[in-house]
Subunit: 552 residues, 2 copies
């Protein structure tokens, strides 16, 4: 009986973001995708969230290869951090993905950390030790996306990456349903499929619909036009550029990441535009508002992004006014709704009309809806199924689709991050689990902020902090306490309450010292509890209380 293939998701299960899956066989490991997640409000002050790499760090041999399915941050963003911690022999990705990743690695000074190799989906299989990998083109909201077929002794696994069933994609490169059907005929033992939109009935619209909306909207407008989208959404940019060129507007790109991505995409031939239609931000003032179209970042309302700076009249080159049109060609990622709404309100106050997914067809999802996922299951006819990429409710909905599509219920694996799934000729099942937490990137630190720091920040953020500084002296062998000093921050101290707290702290200290209690830890505990009770009685709040007793 051949050795089992081990499949270990280190991220992306039970969450949207930080997708990363390890495949192990014969002592070799390859990793499909290495993404990051963005913090939620509860991650106070955290900048980025990475998968935990402990499991890979503990392996003795280097990782044979990281294979990237497409260039989105939730699939490639953690790669620089991985390459700092873990030896990886090769990184494989398609041309555009590789171009975008290279620029990222360059910024981190990691261009030579691993051998970068290009996937050509048309060229056939590549051998990665015991894994033979083939690639299938899929349509998604960034060009050059692929699904990965891993052919091993233990069975064939298809890992879809992010995909939709777009029959009229902007670049003409459809999800290759013919290849998928061929794989289905060959026999797929396990399907790992994108579950993001498994809950949504029907099918998602073609990316081309957004271009049609642009074509309806843009020619009718006389003022400035701004189009905000994800910086990686090359097709979206191309479609806006096409209409701009048709109506004779110059195109200006604002926002560092979008300028960078557009440059890379143009150099690699993924964006097609006449040289003279592009102007720089400083040239905007030479053109009338009706002569320009501005592509910008900020579709998620990110605080320092171009669109948000423009909305708050804080951008050096662009402003909006009455008669202008702003198209937000994206959907807010859950948690970003309020920021996006704030930006829309600010833009509306400047007099601009703001078109967004709720009032105009200016966005389509890059992830297939339920009927598309059913189609994938019908084409591939997997013997077993493991929903990936999504919160638990999405994985559960995908599992229901698989069951309805004929996959036996006991061949559907609903796993969590860190699960060890074994694939053998007998099927796929969870056999073990490994360490798989999160690593916070906060300022310059990677991994040094932990839950206890976040818990403290949360506590501080709820009710603020009160610091009590008391001095403990001794004369003639008899201890005595000086008058305590109180500092309150972030909780609503009134002068009377402050005075009352000072008296209480004084009383607590004197009582204890009179009873010859001079152990500092004990004094601090009593101060903490006494003042805590007083504050709660008076205000109903529980600030963090930090008593400091200094012996002098």
């Amino acid at each position: 009986m051949p050795e089992a293939l081990r499949i270990i998701p280190l991220g992306g299960l039970g969450e949207v973001g930080k997708n990363m899956t390890v495949y192990e066989l014969g002592g070799e490991a390859i990793v499909v995708d290495c993404g990051l997640a963005f913090p939620r409000d509860e991650h106070l002050g955290v900048d980025l969230i990475l998968p935990e790499f402990t499991y890979l760090q503990q392996r003795e041999r280097p990782v044979r290869a990281v294979v990237l399915t497409h260039a989105h941050e939730d699939h490639v963003g953690a790669l620089p951090y991985l390459l700092r911690e873990v030896r990886v022999e090769e990184v494989w990705a398609t041309r555009l993905t590789l171009g975008l990743v290279k620029s990222k690695l360059d910024e981190h000074g990691l261009l030579r950390a691993s051998e970068l190799r290009e996937i050509d989906p048309e060229r056939g299989a590549i051998d990665l030790g015991p894994f033979r990998a083939e690639f299938v083109r899929v349509a998604h909201s960034v060009p050059d996306s692929v699904a990965v077929l891993l052919e091993t002794e233990a069975g064939r696994v298809l890992h879809t990456g992010d995909w939709k069933l777009d029959h009229t994609p902007v670049d003409g490169l459809r999800t290759d349903v013919g290849r998928l059907a061929e794989l289905g005929n060959r026999g797929v033992d396990l399907l790992l499929g994108d579950s993001t939109n498994a809950e949504r009935p029907g099918v998602t619209g073609s990316e081309r619909l957004v271009g049609e909306a642009f074509r309806q909207i843009i020619p009718q407008r006389s003022g400035r036009i701004l189009v905000a989208s994800f910086a990686s959404n090359v097709h979206r940019m191309q479609q806006a550029i096409d209409v701009a060129v048709e109506v004779g507007r110059k195109v200006c790109v604002v926002g560092r990441s979008m300028r960078k991505n557009l440059n890379i995409a143009r150099n690699l031939g993924y964006i097609d535009m006449p040289e003279d239609s592009l102007i720089r931000p400083v040239e905007l003032e030479e053109h009338a508002p009706g002569e320009v179209l501005i592509l910008c970042t900020g579709s998620q309302g990110e605080p320092l992004s171009a669109l948000v700076r423009i909305a708050y009249h804080d951008h050096p080159a662009v402003h909006v006014e009455r008669g202008d049109t702003v198209i937000i060609s994206a959907k807010p990622v859950p948690g970003n709704e309020l920021r996006v709404h704030d930006a829309i309100n600010q833009l509306a106050k400047s007099g601009a009309e703001v078109l967004h997914q709720e009032n105009a067809p200016v966005h389509v999802s890059g992830h297939g809806y339920a009927e598309e996922l059913r189609t994938m299951i019908s084409l591939v006819r997997p013997k077993a199924m493991m929903p990936v990429h999504g919160e638990f409710r999405m994985l559960a909905a995908h599992a229901r689709l698989a069951e309805e599509g004929g996959v036996p219920p006991d061949a559907i694996v609903l796993a969590e991050n860190g699960a060890v799934v074994e694939l053998t000729p007998a099927g796929a099942r969870v056999v073990d689990d490994v360490e798989s937490g999160v690593t916070f990137v906060d300022g310059l630190g990677v991994g040094d902020v932990r839950d206890v720091a976040l818990r403290d920040r949360r506590h501080l953020s709820e009710d603020g902090v009160l610091i009590i500084v008391a001095t403990l002296g001794g004369t003639n062998g008899r201890a005595s306490a000086g008058p305590p000093e109180l500092i309150a921050r972030g909780f609503a101290e009134s002068d009377t309450l402050l005075a009352e707290m000072r008296d209480e702290a004084d009383r607590v200290l004197r009582d204890l010292v009179e009873d010859d209690v001079v152990e500092i830890k004990l004094l601090q505990e009593h101060l903490h509890d006494g003042l805590g009770q007083l504050i709660y009685d008076r205000t109903g709040r529980r600030p963090m209380i930090l008593p400091v007793v200094v012996e002098v």
Copy 2:
């Protein structure tokens, strides 16, 4: 020329929530609605947000009347706080609204703070000093909602409250389009209209559609059925109860506010159900899962609500398991999305199927969409228009609808909270503004938390806090500094960094003392800046730094 009518919105403009509008004429004031808003994440630790009442507090004469359009918190929730601060002669509301408000005032011990009087929309006008008020039934997501027509010497104003154009409402009480047309024929000088859904094209679905969805879903299910909705959504409860009774399930209501509201609504005749179909939570265990339907609170993922406690296996009477169905019959208010998603994920993990507005037609909005707002404008044909109830983008969209509907652009008033709008025969325009901020309710305190406390909490929540306690002593006329003590909370201190910071603090102090700098304020400033720089260089973070120098 008659005196101008002054219209002063104290809340609800540029925001969703805390709707409140003052009308003044001849020295008398009436207030339409008195709502509260729920805090956003940036309002760290705040429980509720009220309109600022300063303007009304500064008036010499009491408020003639508060008129409430319907029983939602964003229209009535601040009433107890207003009645504590401002003398109000009468509070007018329809029967159900009054019933729900009475119970709220009772909890606050304010039942006698003002005379409570019932509006009967069919009974004709009431006189409130210089205001003659008539009421028009409108359909909304709580029964007994009305629009208010104020007839004054200065002109006629129609204030819609929240409404939709439901032609098949559950209680048969439609938005009274006949009366609206009649008012239009009589002549309306100013329309203050609900703008919540002005951006959404088309029309909203009838409340009855949700009942039809319940009728599709519920009979097919064999396990427990939970229906979560707003506690005030009496029609939603009635429709779920109707289907439950039809299929022979007992109904159990879980969650304090929903039990209270259901009781009031039943006593007043707004809910119709057989006595024996209602069971108490403790009786649930006597029934098989397939024999019960549980109505519960928590549709917004509120932390201590019934649904969330159930989702986290923390409810004394209800649990969910494989085969159960949870219907979340509400839309997350912007900002609550992640909480709701978390609850759905938890419920899905327990094996329940969760139906919500994204995957099933189990919710409709209570606010009219663009075509409904156009219909209102066509029926009423107002001479002037002032969009209310909504963020700026919604007000702006409503203004566009009014313009398209024939209201002259210079007769459309896009005002902000605190604006003083004067209505004269010459039209409506902003002439002044008054104080109109927000008041935070935090724990037991009303209004004592201010922006500076919130700023501090925000700072603390981003990067935590570092406290430096140093002692300054003197011997032989020469100052000397003791070794400083450092306390860090909420920022990722490593032992080496802590040691380095302690050394730096020590160095700063000694250097200064050697130079005979002993002024405490100066010492603290140097400690603050020196350590701040060190921490930023090492970690890229900026915790709040609180240096305390104690003279001993």
